[in-house]
């Protein structure tokens, strides 16, 4: 899709970013010491810290990724909401108060509180860096996503922009400003998401033949060769001749296409008004057979993009620009209604459950010229199916027989549960309040705000699914485009808030990384003698380096769903950090060697698993995975193997090193 900038959106956006920067500069002046820079002197009020937890946590993944995943696949995206929120239970009941008691600046401080070991500092410092960088990728991708429809910039420009602004914030400010910025953004994000949800319910549901641009997607019910009962129709009863005959009667000319396309049920046709369409034979949930209009994207060797066979952006005969049409609409409502009018929070689900939604699938085929063509095809889907798990490829294994296909799902849900309490930028927030009681209270406030937001994600995602505004090529765009379908003002506000939330989350992550480099590694491991001010300066230099790395990675990972990327970050965090932290707190026989081994084994095994998984090969490297790897790494989510492995390593190494305790 082509995104045009809106002046109002740009104006509101600039006001937000300007205010964020001004606040950062103002408060940054108060954080000259390392205690001020990393932990705001432990003087943040617990309520503010709790909402800042929400600001930190409700990042690009939560807002863009979850809404996008729900909009494209339904309930499966909500599983992430549930897992992310459940993880806070581990944080509150198991980790929060001991973390506050044990540490000073960083996660490594807490792990090392009992042993004073350089090895622990080094392992935990590296683990913090690895997790933070993994978590930074989706945030940067999310920044690029937000800037495209808002300012009309390409993805890379958005990533560079957010990288530059964040580096500026972190270098000039510190934890005090990051916290207050997160407090404001966390509050605004939750409040405006609630407004958006109310508007979704007020708008209700409506049957549409296409998206909000007015394009009507052709849909032809196949009846040739049938007697009277469409229910008796089977794909086998539809001969190509019968279909061609019906198309001819409707005024379409059938055009030649690669035979491989025909075998997959595609028909290339020219309509009487000269338009060329690609149709795909698709069954409807009621058993009837249809030819439905698809959309295509073809990248030529010179980088030109063909959208539906036309060079993107060229002016067509009807005066519109060649681009993909927005999607996301209902094809049926209960009792044949055309629209519902305003719905309540429960009747929204009840109505959707009895409706039919047009979701979109995709596949890549080769054109006559040998170019790879991505085809997006409509999939009429019962509403009841989008409100149940198992539609997304990640979760499709749960609908297959046997235990093996289900392990990917079980692994992800375990990592989400264990990951929250292991994220360095969340853990360091326990040092910004004065005591264990304040840590507890701020976590409760955080759970309230985050939980409320996650309930809203289901409404926003399903609202986007039926908004007629989806970009079929990019699920991350769903939430901003949903807001745009309401009005430009809301779109501008939501985008600006989401963008500044990305800024804040990235700031927090870079702060955690900077702390790992300057405090854990350089000061405590290398033994570099640094004054307080020098430590802050080194941390700022580290922030610049990490920020630049994040920019590069954010550009490389553009097409991946941000939520999926965050799932990986959770797996690495849960494997590397949680076992060491939990065993240190609850198993007296834990040794420093056990902690070091657990952190290294958990981090290396989870990173290795991810880098060699099928998903990484297909979506990041874009090459075929060697066959033999399938037997070593049979599913993509590592948690169910690597978290227990890290626990086991700690126990075995600790038992073997008891005499050296």
């Amino acid at each position: 899709m082509i995104y045009n900038a809106s002046m109002m959106a740009v104006g509101i956006f600039l006001v937000f970013v300007g205010f964020t920067l001004a606040l950062s500069f103002y408060l940054g002046g108060k954080a000259k010491s390392s205690a001020g820079y990393f932990t705001a002197h432990g003087q943040i009020p617990w309520f503010v810290n709790g909402i800042a937890f929400a600001g930190d946590y409700l990042s690009a993944a939560s807002f863009l990724g979850i809404c996008g995943m729900i909009a494209f696949y339904g309930y499966d995206g909500f599983l992430y909401s549930i897992g992310y929120l459940a993880g806070w239970i581990v944080a509150l009941f198991v980790i929060a108060e001991p973390m506050k008691r044990l540490g000073k600046f960083t996660f490594a401080d807490a792990l090392n509180s009992k042993f004073q070991s350089r090895g622990i500092q080094l392992a935990a410092g590296i683990s913090t860096l690895a997790v933070s960088v993994f978590y930074l990728i989706p945030q940067m991708v999310g920044a690029g996503v937000l800037v495209r429809p808002l300012l009309g910039f390409p993805h890379w420009a958005g990533v560079v922009m957010v990288g530059a602004v964040v580096i500026l914030i972190v270098v000039t400010a510190g934890m005090v400003s990051t916290t207050w910025v997160q407090f404001l953004k966390g509050s605004l994000l939750v409040a405006f998401s609630a407004v958006l949800t109310v508007m979704i319910l007020q708008r209700g549901l409506e049957v549409q033949p296409g998206g909000r641009d007015g394009h009507v997607f052709s849909a032809i019910e196949l009846t040739q060769g049938l007697a009277t009962d469409p229910q008796s129709l089977t794909p086998q009863s539809l001969t190509p001749q019968a279909i061609e005959k019906q198309l001819g009667e409707l005024g379409f000319d059938v055009l030649p296409q690669p035979s491989a396309w025909s075998d997959k049920g595609y028909w290339r046709v020219a309509s009487s008004d000269g338009r060329q369409l690609l149709l795909r034979q698709t069954p409807s949930p009621d058993g009837s057979q249809w030819l439905r209009e698809c959309q295509t994207v073809e990248l030529l060797a010179d980088g030109t993009e063909l959208d539906n066979g036309q060079i993107q952006g060229t002016t067509l005969d009807d005066g519109t620009k060649a681009q993909l049409y927005p999607t996301g609409f209902l094809s049926k409502l209960p009792q044949g209604a055309e629209r519902t009018g305003p719905l309540g929070p429960l009747s929204f689900f009840r109505t959707l459950n009895e409706s039919e939604v047009i979701l979109w699938g995709s596949e890549k085929l080769t054109s006559e010229a040998g170019q790879v063509v991505t085809i997006y095809y409509p999939k009429p889907t019962p509403g009841s199916h989008v409100l149940r798990p198992g539609e997304h490829p990640i979760f499709s294994g749960i609908r297959q027989p046997g235990v093996w296909p289900k392990l990917n799902f079980l692994s992800l849900m375990l990592a989400l549960f264990c990951g929250t309490a292991s994220l360095p930028h969340i853990l360091i927030r326990y040092y910004t309040v004065k005591d264990a009681s304040a840590a507890r209270k701020s976590t409760i406030v955080g759970i309230a705000a985050i939980g409320f937001f996650y309930v809203l994600t289901l409404y926003m995602g399903l609202g986007a699914m039926t908004s007629g505004s989806l970009d079929v090529t990019n699920s991350n765009m769903a939430a901003p485009l949903l807001a745009r379908s309401m009005n430009e003002w809301l779109f501008a506000m939501i985008s600006a808030i989401a963008f500044t939330t990305v800024l804040g989350t990235v700031s927090g992550l870079i702060l955690a990384s900077a702390g790992a480099v300057s405090h854990d590694i350089l000061k405590n491991v290398v033994g570099l003698e640094m004054s307080d001010h020098q430590q802050v300066r080194v941390a700022k230099l580290a922030s610049v380096a990490v920020g630049m790395l994040a920019i590069v990675l954010g550009i490389l990972f553009e097409k991946m769903n941000v939520n999926y990327l965050v799932g990986w970050a959770f797996s690495v965090a849960a494997s590397a950090n949680l076992p060491a932290l939990v065993m240190l707190l609850f198993w007296p026989q834990t040794t420093k060697q056990g902690i070091i081994a657990a952190v290294i084994v958990g981090m290396a095994s989870s990173l290795g698993w991810i880098l060699l998984s099928q998903d990484t090969f297909s979506q990041v490297y874009a090459v075929a995975r060697p066959e033999w790897l399938a037997s070593v790494i049979p599913f993509s989510q590592p948690g169910i193997v690597t978290i227990p492995l890290s626990f086991l390593t700690l126990v075995l190494v600790s038992l073997a090193t008891q005499d050296r305790k």
């Binding site: 198991v94 799902f409 976590t443 939980g451």
Partner: protein, 80 residues
């Protein structure tokens, strides 16, 4: 001055609540993994089991957090 017995008491309470929630979460995950068709069962007010249980997990997290916050014993000069 920190009171270790108060700390122990809070830790025990936290672990109990954690176990309770973890079991509820585990049941949700296992049902979704091994009996996903149950998710379509209409429970109340037009909500199916999958959505109801998901909302319940989020709501329960908040309720348990509140219980914990109110039941924790002050460990030092903290106000309850």
């Amino acid at each position: 001055m920190i009171d270790p017995s108060a700390q122990d008491c809070n830790t025990r309470l936290g672990l109990r609540l954690f176990l309770f929630y973890a079991l509820f979460y585990l049941a949700f995950v296992l049902v979704n993994a091994f009996a996903p068709q149950l998710g379509e069962w209409q429970v109340v007010g037009g909500l199916n089991l999958a959505v109801t249980w998901g909302f319940a997990l989020i709501g329960l997290a908040f309720i348990l957090a509140l219980i914990y916050g109110m039941a924790c014993v002050p460990e030092t000069g903290d106000k309850p």
